[in-house]
C-alpha cells in the first residue's frame, strides 16, 4: 500500500536525519578540538596537568572525577528511585495521593540545576563538613595503631565539606525524579492479565513484583536509570557549586575534584587562547565518548539479563 510505504519512508528519513545530526555534532567537535589533538595527541587522556597559563592540558583528573561522581550517584539513587517507581507503579496507582506525588516528582525535574546547586551548597555541604569533623574527632579518640585509626588516617580528611561525595549526593537527588518517573511508567504498563494470573495462583504482591513485574519491566527500568546517568554525566551548574573545582587528580571521595562537564562550564566562557579553547572542546568530545562507552556497558548488562531468562 502506498500510504504504508510513505509512512515507513518518513520514519526511515527521520531516523537517518537523527543519525546525521549526531554525526554533525561529532565532526564539529573534532574540527573545533583539532589544535589540541595536534598538540597533545592521545596523551591528552592520561596527562594530569591542567595549566591554562602554560598551555599544558590533560584530561585525566576530570575523567576520574566524572566517573566517580556519576557512579556513586547512580548507586545512591538506584534503591530510592526503584522504590518510588514500585510504590507509584504498583502500590499506589490512583487517587489524589498518587497524583500529587507524581506531579511533585515531575515538578522537580524542572527545577533549574543552579538551585539544586545553591541548596546543596548551603544545606548539604555544612552537614558533610560536620560529618568530616566527626571523623577527625573519631581519629583523635581511637587507639593508636588500631585498624580504625589506619583507615581514618588513610582517608586524609580535611573538613571542606565540598567534594566528590557532596557532588554525588546532590546528583543522586537530582536524578531520582527522572529514574523514578520513567520506572513508574513502565511498571504501570505491565499487562494486567499477567499480574492477575500470578495473583490467581496465590502469589503475594512481593512475589508478583519479583517474578512478574520486575522481569517484564526490567529493561525499561534500567533504561530509566541509564537516562538518569546521562543527566548525571552532563550536569554542570549543580556539580560545580559543590565539588570544590580542584583540577588535580584524586581518588578520595571526600576530596574536592572536578568533572568534565563542570570544567567546560567553568572555563569555556572565558577561554580565549585557541589551544585552551580547543582543549576544552576536546574534553567535551571525550565526555561524548565516555557516555557512549557507559551506555554500551548498560546495553550489554540488559542484554545479558534478558539472555539468561
Amino acid at each position: 500500500m502506498i500510504q504504508d510505504k510513505i509512512f515507513n519512508k518518513t520514519l526511515l528519513i527521520i531516523a537517518t536525519l537523527f543519525l546525521l545530526l549526531i554525526l554533525g555534532i561529532f565532526i564539529t567537535l573534532i574540527i573545533f578540538s583539532l589544535p589540541s589533538w595536534q598538540e597533545f595527541g592521545l596523551s591528552f587522556l592520561w596527562q594530569t596537568e591542567w595549566n591554562p597559563v602554560r598551555n599544558e592540558f590533560g584530561a585525566l583528573p576530570f575523567i576520574v572525577g566524572t566517573l566517580l561522581t556519576s557512579f556513586i550517584a547512580l548507586f545512591l539513587c538506584a534503591p530510592f528511585s526503584l522504590s518510588l517507581s514500585f510504590f507509584l507503579g504498583e502500590y499506589c496507582k490512583k487517587g489524589v495521593f498518587f497524583q500529587t506525588l507524581k506531579g511533585g516528582i515531575e515538578l522537580l525535574a524542572g527545577i533549574p540545576s543552579i538551585i539544586y546547586g545553591f541548596w546543596g551548597f548551603f544545606v548539604l555541604v555544612p552537614q558533610i563538613r560536620r560529618f568530616q569533623l566527626y571523623l577527625i574527632d573519631l581519629r583523635m579518640r581511637t587507639e593508636t595503631g588500631s585498624i580504625q585509626e589506619k583507615l581514618l588516617e588513610a582517608l586524609e580528611i580535611v573538613p571542606y565539606g565540598v567534594g566528590i561525595l557532596a557532588a554525588a549526593l546532590i546528583l543522586s537527588i537530582m536524578i531520582i525524579p527522572f529514574a523514578a518517573s520513567l520506572g513508574q511508567e513502565v511498571i504501570s504498563m505491565v499487562p494486567q492479565d499477567l499480574k492477575e494470573a500470578a495473583y490467581s495462583l496465590g502469589a503475594t504482591r512481593f512475589e508478583v513484583i519479583k517474578k512478574v513485574i520486575f522481569p517484564h519491566a526490567r529493561s525499561g527500568i534500567l533504561a530509566g536509570i541509564f537516562l538518569a546517568l546521562g543527566r548525571a554525566l552532563g550536569e554542570t551548574m549543580a556539580v560545580t557549586m559543590v565539588i570544590g573545582n580542584r583540577n588535580i587528580l584524586t581518588w578520595n571521595i571526600l576530596n574536592p575534584a572536578n568533572t568534565m562537564a563542570s570544567l567546560i562550564a567553568n572555563e569555556f566562557p572565558e577561554a580565549s587562547d585557541p589551544i585552551h579553547l580547543a582543549s576544552i572542546i576536546q574534553v567535551g568530545l571525550w565526555l561524548f565518548i565516555v557516555t557512549f562507552i557507559i551506555n554500551l556497558c548498560g546495553k550489554l548488562i540488559i542484554h545479558k539479563m534478558n539472555y539468561k531468562e
Binding site: 500500500m1 531516523a15 515538578l107 522537580l108 524542572g110 527545577i111 511508567e185 503475594t204 557512549f292 548498560g298
Partner: protein, 282 residues
C-alpha cells in the same frame, strides 16, 4: 509446615512494602526541602507587577518584573517542542518497529550518546552552526534545546511502544486496518501516557537549562517576541541575578525560580488533561 510457609511469605510481602515505603519517603525528603526552599523564598516577591513589568535597575523604588523572561521562556520552549517532538516520536516509532536491524542498533546507540552530552556542549554546537553566521537569536536557542530534548523523547516513545502487547497490533491488522493507520490510531494512542511523560520530562528539563542558551539566545533586557533576535528566558535571568551582588536581584531570582516551578506545574496539569482526553482506555 504449609501454614508456616504461607506466613513467611506474607511477612516477606509486608517487609517489602515497608522497605519500599521507607525508601520512597526518604527519597522525598530532600525533594520536599528543595521545593519548600523555593516556595518560601519565591512567594514573597510574586505579585501582578512582577509578572507584567520589565526589570528596573538596582536602587529604583519598584523592583520591576520578569515579563520579558516569561514570554521568552514560553516562546523558546514552544519552538523547541515543535522542533523536537515530531523528530523524536518519529525516531522512537522507527526504533520500536525495527528492533534488531543493524541500522536501528546504530541509531539507538546514537540516542544514548546524545543523552549524555552536557548541555553546554550542545550550546557550543548551536553556536558553531548558527550563531556564527546568523548572530544570536531565540531560534538558535530553541535548536540547542531541541537537540537536548530529542533523545529523551525518542527513549520515552520507544520504551513505551515496546511494552504494548503485540496482540493490539495483530488484532488491528487482522481487522483489515492498514499498517500506518494501525500505528497512528492504535499503537501510538495506546502509548500516549508514556510518550507524554517522556516529552514532559524533556520539556521540564530544558525549561531549567541555562548553559546552552548563554551562547545562543544570549538574553535581552527588553521585551522581544521576534525569534530572530536575542531573547531572555527564566533560567538565564535566574543565573544573572542569583550571581549578582545585589539583594534586590537575589529576590527577583527567587521569584523567577518560583515562577519556573509553577510553569512546569502548569505544563504538567495540561498534559494530564490531554492524556485524559486522548488516551485509549482498555
Amino acid at each position: 509446615m504449609k501454614e508456616k510457609n504461607i506466613r513467611r511469605r506474607l511477612i516477606k510481602d509486608r517487609l517489602f512494602l515497608i522497605l519500599i515505603g521507607v525508601l520512597s519517603l526518604t527519597a522525598l525528603i530532600p525533594l520536599i526541602f528543595i521545593l519548600g526552599y523555593i516556595f518560601r523564598n519565591g512567594i514573597r516577591v510574586i505579585n501582578w507587577d512582577f509578572l507584567t513589568q520589565l526589570p528596573q535597575p538596582v536602587g529604583e523604588e519598584t523592583a520591576g518584573g520578569i515579563v520579558h523572561a516569561l514570554v521568552g521562556t514560553i516562546i523558546i520552549i514552544g519552538l523547541s517542542f515543535f522542533l523536537a517532538v515530531p523528530f523524536g516520536i518519529g525516531t522512537g516509532v522507527y526504533l520500536s518497529e525495527n528492533r534488531n536491524t543493524r541500522f536501528s542498533v546504530i541509531v539507538r546507540l546514537c540516542v544514548d550518546l546524545l543523552m549524555g552530552v552536557p548541555s553546554i556542549v550542545v550550546g557550543i554546537i548551536a553556536y558553531a552552526w548558527i550563531v556564527r553566521f546568523q548572530g544570536f537569536s531565540a531560534l538558535a536557542g530553541s535548536i540547542a534545546l531541541s537537540i537536548l530534548m530529542i533523545p529523551m523523547v525518542v527513549r520515552g516513545t520507544e520504551e513505551t511502544l515496546n511494552l504494548i502487547p503485540p496482540s493490539y497490533k495483530e488484532a488491528s491488522l487482522a481487522l483489515g486496518v492498514p499498517y500506518y493507520r494501525t500505528m497512528l490510531k492504535v499503537i501510538i494512542p495506546s502509548g500516549f501516557g508514556g510518550i507524554t511523560t517522556g516529552v514532559l520530562l524533556a520539556l521540564a528539563r530544558i525549561a531549567g537549562e541555562t548553559a546552552p542558551l548563554l551562547f545562543t539566545a544570549l538574553g535581552s533586557n527588553f521585551l522581544n517576541v521576534n525569534i530572530f533576535k536575542p531573547m531572555h528566558t527564566l533560567p538565564l535571568l535566574i543565573y544573572d541575578y542569583a550571581t549578582s551582588p545585589y539583594k534586590e536581584w537575589h529576590h527577583i531570582a527567587w521569584g523567577a525560580s518560583f515562577v519556573l516551578v509553577i510553569f512546569v506545574l502548569v505544563l504538567n496539569i495540561i498534559s494530564r488533561l490531554v492524556i485524559k482526553k486522548w488516551k485509549i482506555q482498555f
